[in-house]
Symmetry: C2
Subunit: 377 residues, 2 copies
């Protein structure tokens, strides 16, 4: 891309063609499985990206912060699921969004917070819409599908006039797997246990129209989603090195990279020094505990093709990255990668690397474009 | 701090009293050692913080990006050292800053870039001011003190009419140490080798008024700095858990923390779930390879006092943190830390955690204040 020759480095680059392919792949899959798809916008935090997910057929969005909800609502997204359990002090902001016409759905997994929602509710004529988080793999949050508190939370919400919309789960343990069969099994466990939670609620007399599951690995591994109404996931839009190790994408699917410039060499050590350090890549070293450890990222040429001899960013300081090949030192590094050479680095974790930037550079119809992203809460 | 009850979480909190103590400690030390002090503002990226470093006696600032140079220059800082080796494509921006009246000093460690500086130079009447980076510990960048290229770079700069101001080194390997004697030895090595480089330049007929060293651990360990004119370092202003393991500060010196709210519990596992995940803490796990691994951070009460039973953030998702004590599960967690409880987390690495935020919350004269910080390049 000659377009990349003038960009200040380090910079976040989106390969729009790869991204579009990732979007189509996921949406086609969801269509085939007969479920609605609600992408998690926490990965890109970018209106232009979400616009493409919506154009492909997504229904609504998932967010990880109220800031995302506010930004996307201001951009015309009005069906928003805030998929982190709400805390009492955040209810005012949630209330405000609903008052402005945003159909914001919130999440709860404790009786105490259900009660706090009811208390806030009583001061308004517009009922909150709530999902109950269910724990289907011991990953983090949620009540167990057989837990008595599932019904208790529903009772508290219902008695308080809050609209219970259904149940939600996130099989986060899928990130620990790398075997297609194990991923299929976890996807089926996620499906079966959330459907069981929905059935318990219905048996107790509650309506449960929404049955929401999701993680990129399980969304790409599920063979059937009977009883599920909606899937959520986020990182698939860009993919990353972590996901290649999980086995749900290839290096050639990764749509986010960091453009960097060679600023020096240490030929005795086989090192190339570049102007992207951890401030650009993020400190994410998620692949360190996977089958293939990619350091701080895989080194590509300026077109985004991985270098043949396996260069990775082996170490990073705040504004310096050190690149090296597994074969070690090479006296010709300076000739091969003269100072000023531009390279691209594929990241371990797209959500973390994206967050280090306030915009993405991309090309649309052959023209350089920047897409804003936002951060913060 | 009752001031903290109304802040949205997660939020970055600066303990201004601790910060002031850290600033005074370093400045007093530099005064006693008879050297000028040029703080590295990459840690806080905050004018209000730099103002306090300047008020305490600092001379000029050090930056890691041209964005920092531009922001600080706009705020009235005109003596700025950009301490990352410049690349040819960044010379235009550097030139522009100098044209606006900023006394920007740039850094070089290769003959090629020295030549690029000379070429850019020839189009202007205002000579660049340049330091040569010297490698005193094999950490990353720089030419060796005995390397023939040291003199060659000086010749190229001098012949091209560029102002050679002197030499600079950064003993980054100090971050790997945790023994006071080893730190003193490395500080002495840093001093002796940079002084040697300066002497070689002088012997070759070049003036070398600036002899600049620095890293927080060596700055706090050096017993004498004969021949050194200036020290740079950054993280000392906040300190962090990494620096407690290096041994140059105590937990009670750490001036940056992340305020968070309890959003759930998993009593069977002994887990508290909070609304600060890695997006707030950063992905930095630097203490993982040190004597004491603090996970994603040390859990404190809302006043900033570490909890007695050693709670740390054992795991983090994007917007969720999991807190646990080494003693494991406790059935009373819900009573002790009810939902809505506010806690503070001391970070592994202040530079990385600060970068996740656009402002710091602090208290000045008993009133809540926010200090802006910036990110990006």
């Amino acid at each position: 891309m000659t377009l990349l020759q003038d960009i200040e480095t380090p910079a976040a680059i989106v390969d729009a063609a790869r991204m579009q392919r990732n979007i189509a792949r996921m949406q086609d899959r969801m269509n085939a499985l007969g479920v609605s798809f609600r992408p998690h916008v926490k990965t890109a935090k970018c209106i232009a990206v979400a616009d493409r997910q919506r154009a492909a057929g997504a229904n609504g969005i998932t967010v990880s912060t109220l800031r995302e909800a506010e930004e996307f609502f201001a951009a015309g997204y009005d069906d928003i699921l805030y998929a982190v359990c709400i805390t009492p002090h955040k209810l005012g902001r949630a209330r405000q969004l609903r008052g402005q016409g945003c159909r914001l759905t919130i999440l709860v997994d404790t009786v105490e917070i259900a009660q706090a929602i009811v208390e806030t509710q009583s001061r308004s004529s517009d009922p909150f819409e709530v999902l109950i988080e269910v724990d289907t793999d011991g990953h983090r949050s949620g009540v167990g599908p057989e837990d008595a508190r599932l019904i208790e939370i529903a009772r508290v919400l219902h008695a308080g006039g809050v609209t219970l919309r259904g149940v939600l789960t996130h099989a986060g343990n899928s990130y620990e797997l790398n075997d297609p069969e194990a991923l299929q099994q976890l996807a089926e466990q996620e499906r079966a246990l959330i459907v069981r939670a929905a059935e318990r609620l219905r048996a107790a007399g509650f309506s449960c129209p929404v049955v929401s599951v999701g993680s990129t690995p399980t969304a790409l591994s599920a063979r059937a989603l009977d009883g599920v109404t909606e899937v959520r996931c986020g990182v698939y839009v860009f993919f990353d090195l972590f996901m290649t190790n999980v086995g749900v994408c290839a290096l050639g699917d990764i749509a986010l990279s960091v453009l960097t410039t060679v600023i020096g060499h240490q030929p005795d050590k086989g090192w190339i020094i570049v102007d992207a350090g951890w401030m650009a890549m993020s400190r994410d070293r998620g692949t360190a505990r996977q089958a293939h450890d990619y350091g701080y990222g895989v080194v590509c040429d300026v077109e985004g093709e991985p270098l043949k001899d396996g260069f990775v960013m082996i170490a990073a300081n705040q504004e310096h990255g050190i690149l090296a090949a597994p074969t070690g030192s090479s006296a010709s590094l300076g000739d091969r990668f003269p100072i000023g050479t531009r390279l691209r680095i594929l990241p371990n974790h797209a959500c973390a690397t994206g967050a280090q930037f306030s915009e993405y550079h991309t090309a649309v119809d052959g023209a350089a474009v920047t897409w804003k992203r936002f951060n913060g809460w």
